[in-house]
Amino acid sequence: MQWEVVIGLEIHVQLSTKSKIFSGASTAYGAEPNTQACTVDLGLPGVLPVFNGEALKKSVMFGLAVGAQINERSVFDRKNYFYPDSPKAYQISQLYYPIVGEGHIDIDLEDGSQKRIGVTRAHMEEDAGKSLHENFHGQTGIDLNRAGTPLLEIVSEPDMRSAKEAVAYMRKIHSIVRYLGVSDGNMQEGSFRCDANVSLRPKGQEEFGTRAELKNINSFRFVEKAINVEIERQMDILESGGTVVQETRLYDSEKNETRSMRSKEEANDYRYFPDPDLLPIVISAEEIEAIRETLPELPDDKCARYREQLGLSEKDARALTIDRDMADYYEAVQQAVDDAKMAANWILGDVAALNNKNAIEFKACPVSAEQLIGLLKRIKDNTISGKIAKEVFEAMYAGEGDADTIIDNKGLKQITDTGAIEAIIDEVVANNPGQVAEFQSGKDKLIGFFVGQVMKASKGKANPGQVNQLLQQKLKP
């Protein structure tokens, strides 16, 4: 049977506010356990939450960026469950009236086409603390530093049909929150993590199959792998006549498998009800419009501008705009060298290649935009050739300094002095009488051989245009 995969994602984005969503404690990552947990975060008797308006502003920005309805009145609910890292034994979330309603984004597929994915809703909530199971002599330690960190949970429609589409969706959401500056999107630190609902149905059937929820996946690569192994697992069950059980599963990246965490029967009844400690969040149409004014240019708009104003191809424009750090870098370089295509080729070519090779995120690229500008200017003013430039770039990437320093130190300056180039040509001509005769008898293609020889003799420093021109003159019969 032909199966169709149906995937919906719930992405938890940590909003980059200075203090927590309901207390004044810091949200900075990596502090000593429980040093950033105040009386409110500890859930002491008598304490009350006070909502941090920054979280609202950032949530609204996201909603506007995905073309969603912003609910002028949204309500915090309590999600009740017992767990040691949940100090109040409830999480403050938004079930019935979320801040962000229906919206959508367009994702880029591998064949270059786009697909629209629905965003069902996005709601604000607080993060839980962490349970620490190591180094406690068989007991469990609780770190409440993360408790109360603001999250925006973005729920998609079940619109994705493959793991690749799910990853493309996740990347696009990541791109948008980074562009907006509403989250640092740091996946290692858990600022951006994802639950995936995966099910299969016979192709052509409208009704959804039974789904499994894969919890807490924190990298693009793992999302793809986790979904794919889950698809295989469900397909095996269905092909052999079995039925998929609705349950929550965990992905084990080391074994590359998913395993059951809890079944539907064991699922908590969260007993949601409106939190009586917090007033409904009310935001006026005027306030929403004021926030809209602050929205930066978003990836789709930037991509269109690059195509229309800078004449880039769709593919290059997409590739440059998905990561805000890369786009900012590109714009700085492009403006300084006034050559949109050259800047694009370098950034998508040499810069991206070395970053990928070294598994470095764009924002951590060791060659700054200013450094790359310095290099490209030397190509433009014929100080070096494009080929030498690659050598200089590698040296810059390795931390050997700016382009000019490297060119000087390595003596890579291009030879443009006609006399010096002629001297080399004369030598090459003298050493290759046979090829000269062949060329003069009409074998035009041999010009390449002579250019190569001259470039080699000049250690690549001769200006290739001049070499070509002078060779043509010299070799004339």
């Binding site: 034994a89 007993r271 009586p276």
Partner: protein, 484 residues
């Protein structure tokens, strides 16, 4: 000295008749010798009290001080007090020493008031008789076989027995007004949001409100002057100007329109209590007030509505008492579930468990709409009733409780009748209105309270109405024989 009101004591401190240290010591001595009869305090804090009194005397010597400076007060053990045990009447919070002060405690500290100790209460404020306290029942100073009411029974009894000039209470369904009525003192539950809830251990967050328990309306005004106001730590506190609540105490009653809800004078009300209330209303007529019969047709829905909303909220509020971070923890838990189950099973008393179970049930999947959502709708109807009534009248009057104090143990096996003892007070919490209980007479030597219900933020008006009654009568000056 112990029969003086706050206003009188403050004058004595001001004139130098006595110092705060002397005053505080005299109350500590009374508590020490008399409280064993009524068990109104869970914790007495003599060292802290005398230290605060000494500081208050120094502040007074140094310059201008507030009226409550140097005045000893009792705090209900529901307010978190830094470095002093806060039990909320429960084993579950034994031991719990709060690292912070409730806003109300801070406000009294800032004005130089003295804390004598923490008063007994029904466990987590759930009860109408003070019998659910893990620290044992409080006895009514007027007749020690009787309950003092609840949940602020310790505060009410301490004030009635002259063990403190005044105390704080909290009122979720009548917990200030009903014990004030049973103990013959003056109790005010302000408008919801008038006094900060920060640091007040939550029972039902949308209903809880702190207020003063005093011997006179004037003292209640002085206390509320300190307690009221917006608190940035409590999102449900209201940004409404705080007047000087003593300013209009002497306004005339001429032309005051009093509404008497017929539902409050029907079946279930003790005849003798009804007579006391009727004669109190006559006092107002004498002062020129106009009486009007009104109807609050949804009155019968208040108790069932309350017993969905309050348990629902409490089931969630009390979940944090899980034995993990503070308070009671069972011995040798086998695993996490065992820790939760036994800590909570051993730590909470029967009434608290009953309400947690009711609330958990009401919120559970499949029942939420039928119970919680419907109760919220009914709550709106009840509020609408009051709003409609207040279009025609300035104040609503009636009994604070259907009877005088019942006997200890009399209703412990009859929770429904116990719940009905709050029948006249509960609707006021559901509507978020201010309410008062004022001593209005006696039945068989037991006090009866007249309830006054006002519009939102009409505390000044209620205090004025209560004060005028106390100018015309002396019920509020009566003291129980054993504590004169």
């Amino acid at each position: 000295m112990h029969n003086k009101t706050i206003a009188e004591l403050s004058a004595g401190l001001k004139s130098g008749e006595f110092s705060s240290v002397e005053l505080t010591q005299s109350y500590l001595d009374r508590i020490n010798s008399l409280d064993k009869q009524i068990n109104s305090f869970i914790t007495v804090t003599p060292d802290l009290a005398l230290e605060q009194a000494k500081q208050a005397d120094e502040q007074r010597a140094a310059g201008n001080v507030g009226i409550l400076n140097g005045i000893p007060l009792a705090q209900k053990d529901i307010f978190c007090t830094k470095d002093v045990k806060t039990s909320c009447g429960s084993k579950m919070l034994d031991p719990f020493i709060s690292p912070y002060n409730a806003t109300t405690i801070n406000k009294f500290n800032d004005t130089g008031a003295v804390m004598l100790g923490k008063t007994n209460m029904d466990e987590f404020a759930m009860g109408s008789s003070n019998e659910t306290s893990w620290y044992g029942p409080v006895k009514n100073p007027w007749q020690q076989e009787s309950v003092p009411g609840g949940s602020s029974g310790g505060s009410a009894a301490a004030v009635a027995a002259r063990l403190a000039p005044a105390a704080t209470g909290t009122d979720t369904g009548g917990s200030i007004r009903q014990p004030a009525s049973f103990c013959g003192i003056t109790g005010l539950k302000p408008t919801y949001g008038r006094v900060s809830r920060y640091g007040m251990i939550a029972f039902a967050s949308s209903l809880d409100q702190a207020g003063p328990m005093t011997r006179t309306a004037e003292d209640a005004a002085l206390m509320l002057n300190v307690m009221a106001g917006l608190d940035p730590r409590d999102s449900t506190s209201v940004d409404e100007p705080v007047p000087d609540y003593t300013a209009s105490l002497n306004d005339s009653m001429a032309g005051l329109k009093i509404g008497l809800p017929k539902e409050y004078f029907s079946e279930g009300l003790d005849d003798a209590v009804a007579k006391v209330i009727e004669s109190a209303v006559k006092e107002y007529e004498k002062m020129g007030a106009v009486i009007k019969e009104i109807s609050l047709p949804t009155s019968n829905l208040a108790v069932p509505t309350y017993y969905i909303i309050a348990p629902s909220e409490c089931s969630s509020n009390l979940s944090r008492m899980d034995g993990v971070r503070y308070g009671y923890r069972c011995d040798d838990p086998e695993d996490l579930n065992d820790l939760y189950i036994r800590s909570r099973g051993e730590g909470f008393g029967a009434e608290v468990k009953r309400r947690i179970l009711v609330g958990t049930y009401a919120l559970s999947e499949g029942f939420y709409d039928a119970y919680y959502v419907k109760a919220q709708k009914t709550r709106r109807l009840i509020t609408n009733d009051f709003n409609q009534a207040f279009a025609d009248v300035d104040v609503i009057m009636g009994p604070a409780a259907p009877s005088t104090a019942f006997k200890i143990g009399e209703l412990t096996d009859d929770p429904i009748t116990m719940y009905l003892s709050d029948i006249y007070t509960i609707a006021v919490n559901l509507a978020g209105l201010p309410g008062m209980s004022v001593p209005a007479g006696f039945v068989n030597d037991m006090p009866v309270g007249l309830q006054l219900i006002g519009k939102h933020f009409a505390e000044s008006k209620l205090l004025n109405i209560a004060h005028q009654f106390q100018q015309a009568t002396d019920w509020h000056t009566q003291a129980p024989a054993a504590f004169k």
